[in-house]
Amino acid sequence: MKTVVIGVIGADVHAVGNKIIEHVLTEHGYNVINIGVLSSQEDFINAAIETDAAAILVSSLYGHGEMDCQYMRENCEEAGLSHIKLYVGGNIVVGKQDFKAVEQRFKKMGFDRVYPPGTSIEDAVAHLREDLGE
């Protein structure tokens, strides 16, 4: 069973989507470590180290995600998690922006998968299967 860490990054307290993600991923057979809302990059990384997670799924709904996710890939590498998959989704930027450009920016930051608002979590499950195997 693959382990994934999920949570809501930064000063963001949106808890409902977080619970839905936990539910769906668990249903699909993942060992879900949910670190909840108001989580820092450090919280995600520490959780991933101790639980030997294969992926980190970052949620953000309040618009400041782009700031909160800065240097997350570099910080993972610093912590010895160079092979971990990083996904991010939600309202991850300020205002309505062209998603193609947003996706490119986050990919440049080292995220493997970037999701626009309104994505169904099942899409991410399909990508997890593809990226992690099984």
């Binding site: 069973m1 382990t3 000063a11 670190i35 520490n46 180290i49 101790e50 030997d52």
Partner: protein, 460 residues
């Protein structure tokens, strides 16, 4: 008449407390210097003699139980993976079992760290790392390193259960003495220290006591059943929770300002009290103990010099005349038996004790941090919220022997602007004048109700 004798082999004194089990009262207490270097029984016999002199009617003793913190107490090293998670969990297991934890290591052990372990004076090593099903690479690496090093120190393995079999294979057929117990952090942020604590106690009883030359005492005292700090924590828990129809005090705190360390014990959940406060970090133990090795009245007095400046010291020293801060501290460090002889020196001791209370509190209690969110201010809470603690009980030489000990204890709610600390706001202060807490922890093993009653009677 049945008389239970409770013995505490301390680092300086061997203390006896005699209890009349039928009349439910303390018959008397006595103490004599601990004599570990020659024969530990000399000190014990002297203290018993003294008890018999002051209580000539002392009937025959029908039962004895003992605890010990002599010869440096129980010293442990804690090893884990992430500092805030399994390292902290391992450290809390050690502290909760009454150990002093001066050596703490995270991630992969290096040669340099192995060397430190080899040179350090350690009785037991606690090896953790990884949640159950989580990382096992690190704990396996550390187990291999420890096997190679062959330090001759018992190792308690309390990490990822998935690694247990492989660790057993590593240590099997080697000279390493190892004990595999439940993971101290089986799930992320979940603390589980019971099994680890029990094994620490078992090793303490069977090995450490002997290695420290205290085993001989068992000829007269029967098995020495636990380290003294654990006895205090057990007494605290009993006093807080109550027993059967004898109610307890509710949430409480015990501060023990000693010669070498300041120990703080709290009994209480300490969860966030308001909905906008979010708890962060590892789960807190219900009965929590922290030990500050740099806060003490004598053996560690010199550590105060690097902790507070002479200017800061004046805020704790409530007198007009100035004292040479460094010199006075140094005198206490060099002469650990020193007792203040005039008012000025007594006030100096009080000031040091105030610092011990204030600083140990700052490190023990939880604190909150403001987070500005689009939904308004929210707060992170790390550690325990102890604002509603009802009783703060002081023990240890300096508090027991000072007439105005409660004035020192008031430092517990010293207002600081450093960070938002969750200290007790309006507690009732009590002093353990007769120095009975560790004895009551021992008595409580067999006679919990009586121990509870006596504590309620004698804490004032």
């Amino acid at each position: 008449m049945s008389v239970q004798l409770l013995v505490d082999f301390g680092s300086t004194y061997t203390k006896l407390t005699a209890i009349d089990l039928e009349a439910e009262r303390i018959i008397g207490t006595s103490k004599a210097m601990t004599t570990v270097k020659t024969d530990v029984l000399e000190g014990f016999d002297r203290a018993l003699e003294q008890l018999k002199v002051s209580h000539p009617d002392l009937p025959e003793i029908t039962g004895v139980s003992a605890c010990s913190s002599a010869a440096g107490g129980l010293k442990m090293a804690a090893i884990g993976l992430v500092e805030e998670l399994t390292v902290e969990a391992a450290k809390r297991a050690c502290l909760g079992a009454g150990a002093l934890v001066n050596h703490v290591f995270s991630h992969h052990l290096s040669r340099k760290e192995i060397k430190q372990l080899r040179q350090a004076d350690i009785d037991i090593i606690m090896l953790a790392g990884g949640t159950d099903g989580g990382n096992k690479e690190c704990i396996l690496h550390n187990a291999r390193k420890l096997k190679e090093a062959n330090l001759g120190i018992p190792i308690i393995v309390a990490g990822n259960k998935d690694a247990a079999d492989e660790i057993e294979e590593i240590f099997e057929n080697s000279e390493v003495e190892y004990f595999i117990v439940d993971n101290v952090m089986p799930k992320l942020k979940q603390l589980q220290v019971k099994d680890a604590k029990n094994v620490i106690r078992q090793i303490f009883i069977t090995k450490i006591i002997e290695a420290k030359g205290i085993k001989k005492a068992e000829e007269k005292t029967g098995e020495i059943i636990m380290p003294t700090p654990e006895a205090v924590l057990i007494a605290a828990e009993l006093l807080a929770k109550g027993y059967e129809d004898e109610p307890g005090f509710g949430e409480l705190m015990i501060i023990d300002v000693g010669g070498a360390t300041t120990d703080v014990h709290t009994i209480g959940a300490g969860y966030p009290k308001r909905s906008e406060v979010i708890f962060k970090g590892l789960q807190e133990p219900f009965a929590k103990r922290t030990v500050e090795g740099d806060l003490g009245m004598r053996y560690s007095a010199n550590a105060l010099l690097s902790l507070v400046s002479p200017y800061e010291f004046k805020q704790y020293y409530h007198r007009e005349e100035t004292k040479d801060f460094e010199k006075s501290v140094q005198r206490r460090f060099e002469n650990v038996d020193y007792l203040p002889d005039d008012d000025e020196e007594k006030e100096f001791d009080k000031a040091m004790a105030r610092i011990c209370c204030d600083y140990s509190m700052s490190r023990h209690v939880g604190h909150v941090e403001v987070v500005y969110t689009p939904l308004g201010n929210m707060y992170y809470q790390t550690g325990k919220d102890l604002t509603d603690i009802q009783y703060v009980i002081g023990t240890g030489g300096v508090l027991i022997n000072h007439d105005d000990a409660k004035d020192i204890l008031r430092e517990v709610n010293h207002k600081s602007n450093k960070k938002l600390e969750l200290r007790p706001t309006d507690p009732i202060f009590l002093i353990d004048r007769k120095y009975i807490l560790s004895a009551m922890g021992l008595l409580g093993q067999k006679y919990p109700k009586l121990a509870l009653k006596l504590m309620k009677q004698h804490l004032e």
